[in-house]
């Protein structure tokens, strides 16, 4: 009995009237944990009962403490008939299990019913006494801290970053059990809610175990998702980055800590741990039959993956894909076989296999170089589960799938394995040994499931890492300049995996940099940028024929490469249109519906000072003889040039001029550039012989002979600029803005759009989708106009196709005000402003000329920095008409590498043994905002702030209270009465916010950081007057103190670091 959970029910308020006759309620409460239930007395005839119960005590294993929620049910006593349930409260007691988090849960929590919503509040007190030393109980992972924050949490310092942890748990979805036919919607919803709570708990515990195995004490960047696979089940999966964190205090670290985090010894002390819970990988999923045969049919692994390197993307498909697939299959299968027979410790070795990091920003000095975005997608068919063992009385319990999956290689696990392998090999192809800003997602429609993973290939400093995760050959110990080092190419200049335009770094002039850089991470805090950033979105809709099963999967996988290609093209064009050269926080979401595919790519564009300036965009027509046509073109060209100029002004992009032209032409001889278009366009054959690198031209050429291209250009130009006073980005903070005020407003907005017109063209759909997003943004700006000047940060769009003709877009973001005075403060450039302006004009002039006399363009003396983005303006380079030079073909190269390193991939690292040699305290840039050690003072206000960011401007987070991970279902059978779909969803989202706030307040917190709404599944049936919605939210509960309150008392050891700058994305 390692733990005693104690709960006390104090009072209720605002209860609903349950007895019509008296207009009152006779309420009592059931408190349940595991299989033990206690009841309070009935408090008769009151809507504000005062139970003041005794302490209910549950003596339980700490394993259960981690898995189970405390379930509180409020009921109305009825003498003659069954008691009516008023509602429930689930309390996650995990935060109480960690000594550094909350100590008590106490406060008013909303009583929630899945049919009626919030029905009053209940005041409870919950405590946990843990009897034994936590370290001895390894089957539970009590004490491992979890953070949604994708950076080192602000009041901690990273001693060690261990690497990737992942886990998934599968169960049958209660909604699809046979019993669902006879039970009430309420019972079904509650079963689902409870199940997901249990599964989340279990998942977290298991991840925790892995972390302990690796020698860590925390998971940072914890991302948990669930996949509603319908009949084939419910998958809850999570990824994160295992770290050893240390609380920042005045004491110089470690003595106690080290003993704490060298668990290898402890492990041996408790050998029961491994076999009992770890050995059985209950994470396996549906016993899909004939999986391998599918594989060979070529749609199960469609792998139309892209690797966006610094400057482009390459598609794998066609010939190369074949061997790759074979290889992957071989690998994964052998890995699986091994796993099947091997002991648990073997399984653990695996976790070190992937040098992935879910972090998006890093302690300074950790991130050395960034290669580019790597992503992988795969289309899978979900198979129905026919298993007699399901649906039995244990249905409320988690099923152990081990027995079924032992001989089924094709599991959810294996699917992800494949994808991760691919990501890893992509990274290798970019000369990188790690992937940062890593995330995984799925999109499910009927039985088709697209699995996606993406991240940024990077080279990390080994300072924070153990020997395990990374290949030794890649260990860099070089010192990189802070402002630009991360831009320097990690790959070998002479052996780059794709054609790239390299120049010497514009900051330090010592290393090569690409001309464009795409990443999924946040802008490093110390990066040198010019001007400000902005949100850049590429939106795409593709129609698809209705199909079933394998045919459907094939169709989808055939479409994916085109989708990605076009998204990428759009991003590139829009980036150039804004005069910027790098994307951060890139997130590409592809959503699948029955008759269409949606693609949405969001990122924050910036001008990195270290990179060359982007070229313009040049329009070319194929029929130059026609005068009116040319006029048309030149008009368009003018428009584009104007827009670029305007944007440069708007975002204050005035890069200092680089005078010296000694850089030469560092373009390496492109290898096999001919295969540039292979997978992306049908015309690959014609194109294959083209030399796209001829000459050096400033601009990017758009050919408008093609209707697609006209659309593209229109799309480019119709993106309306943000209104005066607004900025937007999807990263943690807006590059170029620092002086935030304390005014923040987090919000969620959801729109569902119905396409009544069945026969829409791709263009038509594109326009609708694009307008939908644009209008949504406009609405947001309008709503938040009172906060001007302000920036919408962390704009996170989620698209879905809930039904055939519906498009759903959900946005969660935070609006933050800033002081106007200093926004222009990018200091240095002011003097050069005029100069740069002149140059810009000059450039435009040249572009115009270029367009008129394409021939002369070769001769243009544009070997200037701007001239480096390459042009493929060869007449026959039609393709989808937008040609960006950087489009890469790296298949062969990375296949090769993959092959070479196949064995290292599989067992690249062993990390269970942790040597703490690197545990020495590191001077740490992240601590800059920690200013004093005065104790916190402010829970008097019930206000709870919420933000998707990891920090609160003008405030210092002094304590992390634990992770908030909540899942709610709401259903109604009186949709009209509740104000229609909008009314229904509006109140549900408000209720979810309210419950999050209440739970945070009960933990003693006053804010949620890194908040995200990971799932919002909305279904309606207006004819039946019904609707249902599922929402999953997560975040970190924290206590913050206003810096102004601290000002007086700050004796700060870290004052020097503080000045570096504020508010960036740690």
């Amino acid at each position: 009995m390692p733990g005693k959970l104690k709960a006390k029910i104090v009072a209720g308020r605002h209860l609903p009237v349950m007895d019509r006759a008296s207009d009152l309620t006779d309420a009592f409460v059931e408190v349940k944990f595991g299989n033990t239930t206690y009841k309070t007395d009935v408090y008769p005839k009151s809507l504000n009962p005062q139970w003041n119960s005794e302490w209910f005590k549950f003596e339980v294993d700490d394993e259960d403490l981690q898995d189970e929620p405390l379930q509180i049910t409020v009921l109305d006593h009825d003498t003659y008939s069954a008691n009516d349930a008023i509602g429930k409260v689930y309390i996650d007691i995990d935060p109480l299990l960690c000594s550094e988090a909350a100590t008590v849960i106490s406060g008013w929590l909303p009583i929630y019913d899945t049919i009626h919503g919030i029905r009053g509040e209940i005041n409870v007190l919950v405590k946990v006494d843990l009897f034994n030393d936590l370290n001895r109980f390894r089957q539970s992972s009590c004490g491992v801290k979890f953070f949604c924050t994708t950076s080192i949490p602000r009041c901690y310092r990273a001693i060690m970053v261990h690497g990737f942890v992942e886990e998934l748990v599968v169960n049958e979805d209660p909604e699809y059990q046979w019993i669902d036919r006879i039970r009430t919607p309420r019972a079904s919803n509650e079963a689902r809610q409870r199940l997901i709570f249990l599964m989340s708990g279990e998942l977290q515990r298991k991840i925790g175990l892995k972390v302990l195995e690796m020698g860590g004490n925390a998971v940072v960047g914890y991302l948990q998702c669930f996949d509603l696979e319908g009949e084939s089940g419910l998958v809850v999966r999570a990824i994160g980055t295992a770290c050893t964190l240390e609380k920042i205090s005045t004491l110089p670290s470690t003595a106690t800590h080290q003993s704490n985090s060298s668990p290898s010894k402890d492990m041996k002390d408790s050998p029961q741990a491994a076999p009992s819970t770890l050995g059985c990988r209950s994470t396996h999923s549906s016993p899909v039959h004939s999986a391998s045969s599918r594989l060979s049919q070529g749609f199960s692994v469609s792998v139309p993956t892209l690797l966006f390197a610094g400057m482009g993307s390459g598609g794998s498909a066609g010939k190369e894909a074949g061997p790759l697939k074979a290889l992957l299959r071989q690998q994964t299968q052998s890995a699986l076989e091994q796993r099947g027979v091997s002991s648990s410790s073997e399984a653990f070795v695996r976790t070190g296999e992937y040098p992935f990091f879910t972090l998006t920003s890093f302690p300074s000095g950790f991130l050395l170089h960034v290669g580019g975005v790597v992503s992988a997608r795969s289309v899978k068919l979900l198979d129905r589960i026919h298993n007699p063992a399901l649906g039995n009385t244990r249905s409320y319990k988690l099923l152990d799938w081990n027995s079924f999956t032992a001989d089924e290689p094709e599991t959810r696990d294996a699917w992800w394995e494949e994808i991760r392998q691919e990501i890893k090999s992509h990274a290798k192809a970019l000369g990188c040994h790690a992937v940062v800003g890593y995330s995984e997602s799925t999109s499910i429609c009927e039985e088709v499931c697209i699995l996606s993973a993406s991240g940024t290939a990077a080279i990390l400093s080994s300072r924070f890492m153990q020997d395990g995760p990374l290949d030794t050959e890649h260990r860099f110990e070089e010192v990189v300049p802070p402002g630009c080092g991360f831009c320097h190419i990690p790959y070998d200049e002479l052996n780059i995996p794709f054609p790239a335009q390299l120049t010497y770094c514009y900051s330090c002039r010592r290393s090569k940099v690409p001309d464009v850089l795409f990443t999924t991470i946040d802008l490093p805090a110390d990066a040198n940028i010019t001007g400000k950033g902005c949100l850049i979105q590429a939106r795409l809709c593709r129609t698809k024929k209705k199909a079933q099963g394998e045919g459907n999967a094939t169709a989808i996988s055939n479409l994916l490469p085109f989708l990605e290609y076009e998204l990428h093209t759009q991003l590139m064009n829009k980036l150039k249109l804004r005069g910027m050269n790098a994307l951060f926080g890139l997130r590409i979401q592809i959503s699948v519906g029955e008759t269409m595919l949606l693609g949405l790519a969001s990122a924050t564009g910036v001008y990195l000072t270290a990179l060359p300036g982007p070229g313009g965009i040049q329009i070319a027509g194929k029929t130059p003889s026609d005068i009116t046509y040319e006029q048309h073109i030149s008009n368009m060209q003018k428009k584009i040039n104007d827009t670029i100029a305007k944007n440069k002004d708007l975002y204050e992009i005035n890069p200092p001029e680089v005078v010296e032209e000694i850089i030469g032409s560092p373009i390496p001889e492109p290898r096999q550039r001919s295969r540039l278009f292979r997978s992306q366009s049908e015309s690959s054959d014609e194109v294959s012989e083209l030399d796209l690198s001829h000459g050096k031209k400033d601009a990017f050429v758009l050919e408008i002979d093609d209707t697609d291209a006209v659309e593209d250009i229109h799309a480019l130009l119709t993106d309306s600029p943000t209104p005066q006073g607004f900025y937007s980005c999807n990263t943690e903070i807006m590059p170029g803005i620092q002086n935030w005020t304390s005014a923040i407003q987090m919000f969620t907005s959801v729109r569902v759009f119905r396409l009544n017109n069945a026969n829409l063209t791709n263009q038509g759909l594109n326009k609708i989708f694009s307008d939908l997003c644009e209008n949504l943004l406009k609405s947001l700006y309008f709503k938040l106009r009172s906060m001007v000047p302000c920036c919408l940060c962390h704009l996170n769009f989620t698209v879905a196709i809930p039904e055939d003709e519906l498009i759903q877009v959900a946005v969660t973001a935070v609006a933050m005000s800033f002081d106007k005075e200093q926004i222009l403060e990018n200091g240095k450039q002011s003097g050069e402003k005029t100069l740069t302006k002149a140059i810009t004009e000059n450039d435009e002039q040249l572009q115009f000329n270029l367009e008129l006399n394409p021939e002369s363009s070769h001769a243009n003396p544009l070997s200037s920095p701007k001239g480096l983005s390459e042009v493929g303006s060869h007449p026959s380079a039609r393709a989808p008409s937008v040609d960006y030079s950087s489009f890469a073909d790296r298949c062969s190269s990375w296949i090769e590498q993959l092959r070479l390193k196949a064995h290292t991939i599989r067992r690249g690292s062993v990390k269970t043994t942790s040597s703490m040699e690197k545990a020495s305290p590191l001077p740490e840039g992240r601590s800059r905002s920690l200013r004093s050690n005065r104790s916190y003072s402010g829970t008097s206000v019930a206000v709870v702030k919420m933000t998707p960011l990891s920090f609160i401007p003008g405030a210092k987070i002094i304590k992390y209270l634990g992770i908030i991970n909540m899942f709610f279902i709401r259903e109604t059978t009186s949709l009209r009465e509740e104000g229609g779909v909008s009314g229904f969803l509006h109140s549900f989202i408000a209720e979810v916010f309210a419950m999050v706030r209440a739970h945070v307040a009960a933990l003693g917190g006053n804010a949620v950081v890194s908040y995200s709404m990971k799932e919002c599944v909305f279904m309606e049936n207006p004819n039946k007057n019904q609707a249902q919605c599922l929402i999953n939210v997560s975040g970190d509960a924290v206590i913050f103190v206003r810096e102004s309150e601290l000002e007086a008392a700050s004796v700060q050891p870290q004052s020097t670091t503080h000045t570096s700058n504020g508010g960036e994305g740690t």
């Binding site: 909303p110 729109r751 569902v752 759009f753 119905r754 309008f782 779909v981 408000a990 706030r997």
Partner: protein, 357 residues
């Protein structure tokens, strides 16, 4: 193609004051959008009509969801659903409980019953206040009435505490409740020149001086009913008009005091007995509920109108009432000084307030 669903939820609930007012005024969403467009908000923020429509719908929905809480303003502060800053909460409440003087003038003194509510469409037509808004205002009156009816202690204070209203608004509501409870007649043609604020002022006087609470705030009973004992005692004042000597004495005292000080002396002298009879008769009859209802009409008919036809100025009126009140104390056989003071104090201030065009 249509937007099927469109919601925006902020962690801090965003509410636009202007839209709130339009909602309170009973505008439909489309009308509100029109008003907003005319107001120029679009140019200000580079928005389109669609954006405005979406925003307006969203706000309306928020208000509707809040309305239930506004019915019990105390709940607004400790509810968890909407995170609204305190100053915003105060604004929401104040505006929700604000009313149109024109409207309240129509229902003042009427029984707050279903019957009255049914007639609201007439009131709406007459006042130009939209029916929706009329209903809200009427329901507010009724809600406040129901809550404070049963409460002990000072009326204004009760309203302020239960409905978290600012002082002036609480006083107005006290007046409305007081009028509704005593069913004062305010709708007669002769009374139409009086504004709500005139009545509210009088109600304040009555509440402060003539109710039981005015004497002893600790008393069981409260501010909504007039002090029965006092009304009983008022009958004793009749002696001022029934006793011929007293009446003559009273008159001569007043005339002596006023001679030369007023331009309407002659008219005053001629009318003194009538006026005095009017005032004292009102006092004597107040014990009957029916006559309480006619209190204001009586004041107008018996006193204000005669004076007005004689073209008294308010200064004349003030002088007269002051001396009329004070002289009574000098009468040697008149013993009811306390009652007289309590009565005349209120009468004087009411008449002075009501004496205008």
């Amino acid at each position: 193609m249509s937007v099927e669903l469109d919601v925006f939820v902020g962690n801090t609930t965003i509410m636009d004051k202007e839209v709130y007012q339009l909602w309170l005024n009973g505008y439909t969403v489309n009308d509100a959008v029109k008003v907003r467009i005319e107001g120029g908000v679009m140019e200000e923020c580079e928005a389109s009509a669609d954006v405005l429509l979406s925003d307006t719908m969203d706000q309306y929905r928020t208000f509707q969801m809040c309305e239930r809480l506004l019915h019990h303003p105390a709940k607004l502060a400790n509810q968890l659903l909407f995170q609204i800053p305190p100053d915003r909460q105060a604004m929401l409440i104040e505006r929700y409980y604000a009313f149109d003087d024109l409207f309240v003038r129509e229902v003042l003194g009427k029984k707050l019953s279903k019957g009255t509510k049914k007639d609201l469409d007439d009131v709406s037509a007459k006042t130009g206040v939209s029916l929706k808004s009329c209903r809200r205002q009427f329901d507010n009156f009724k809600r406040v009435f129901k809550v404070v009816e049963e409460l002990k202690g000072p009326l204004v204070e009760n309203i302020r505490q239960h409905f978290l209203l600012p002082d002036q608004l609480a006083r107005d509501y006290a007046a409305i409740v007081f009028f509704a409870n005593n069913r004062f007649e305010t709708g007669k043609k002769k009374l139409l020149y009086l504004t709500f604020q005139d009545f509210a002022f009088c109600a304040g006087q009555l509440i402060n001086h003539w109710t039981l609470g005015a004497v002893d705030s600790m008393m069981e009973d409260m501010d909504v009913d007039l002090d029965k004992e006092f009304l009983q005692d008022l009958k004793d004042l009749k002696i001022l008009i029934t006793d011929k000597d007293l009446l003559d004495q009273h008159k001569s005292l007043v005339c002596t005091a006023l001679r030369g000080k007023t331009s309407v002396f002659n008219e005053m002298e001629a009318n003194f007995k009538n006026l005095s009879r009017g005032l004292v008769n009102i006092a004597a009859k107040l014990i009957n509920a029916k006559d309480v209802r006619d209190f204001f009409i009586d004041l107008v008919e018996k006193f204000i109108e005669p004076c007005r036809s004689d073209k008294w100025t308010s200064i004349d009126m003030n002088l007269f009432l002051t001396h009329y009140t004070n002289s009574a104390h000098i009468l040697d056989t008149f013993k009811h000084h306390a009652v007289w003071t309590r009565y005349m104090g209120v009468i004087k201030s009411c008449i002075l307030r009501m004496y205008h065009d």
